[in-house]
């Protein structure tokens, strides 16, 4: 299982803060997982296709090419606006 988390505007638009994804392979890229999530419905497809989407694996910012493994925490969120 991969635990997926959404934050801020993305969380609101998807109306989802956590999502558990069955993990078929031992290791896959964030991009592959993202493609799977886009299949959820047309809203998810639209929101998860934004080019400014950021992602973190195990609470570290990573590019979409990064690997995700079973048991990892994967997060997607819009550009950061703190400070």
């Amino acid at each position: 299982m991969i635990k997926i988390r959404f934050f801020a505007a993305l969380r609101e638009r998807l109306d989802c803060s956590q999502y558990l994804l069955q993990c078929d392979s031992n290791s896959q890229s964030v991009a592959t997982v993202l493609e799977q999530l886009k299949g959820h419905d047309s809203l998810w497809h639209q929101e998860l296709s934004r080019t400014d989407l950021l992602c973190a694996v195990n609470q570290q910012l990573v590019p979409l090419s990064a690997a995700v493994r079973d048991g990892d925490e994967l997060a997607f969120f819009p550009p950061i606006t703190g400070g």
Partner: protein
């Protein structure tokens, strides 16, 4: 070199942070940055809510402090970021640096703010007379990183 990082709902006290920072007796320079909820000219902002990614935020702030420490000779770094709902003129963020020399203190303080604005997972939602909306990321904040690279 000491690093102190906090993510909290409670307000912070600049004077207490400063008193700790200036205790580093080899340090001749203390620079502080405080970010406040700004009253917009059209006066429509009532408050804002800061969301964050618990766990990741603290790690990100420590990582940013450590990067600053690798670049400059610093005595102490304090970073405090508030979350939750904040009204106009309330304090949002504090960065304080103690260093032997002023150039290092200024650079490290600005570096940390520039990185925090782009790398620490906080998001602002503004509550205004016209409704609630998520703050858009600013290109100027991304550009601010360029000079450190």
């Amino acid at each position: 070199m000491s690093v102190f990082v906090a993510v909290q709902c409670d307000d912070f006290c600049l004077a207490s942070e400063y008193d700790e920072l200036r205790r580093h007796s080899a340090c001749g320079a203390v620079v502080t940055f405080s970010g406040l909820v700004r009253e917009l000219s059209n006066n429509i902002l009532h408050s804002m809510t800061l969301e964050h990614y618990p766990g990741m935020t603290e790690q990100a702030l420590v990582a940013i402090a450590e990067q600053a420490q690798q670049r400059w000779q610093l005595g102490a770094v304090h970073i405090i970021h508030r979350v939750g709902t904040l009204k106009t003129n309330e304090q949002i963020v504090f960065v304080g640096i103690a260093s032997a020399h002023r150039a290092a203190a200024f650079a490290a303080c600005e570096f940390i703010m520039d990185y925090l604005k782009n790398r620490a997972p906080f998001w602002k939602k503004e509550h205004t007379a016209a409704g609630d909306y998520w703050v858009e990321a600013k290109a100027s904040d991304q550009q601010a990183l360029a000079r450190w690279e």
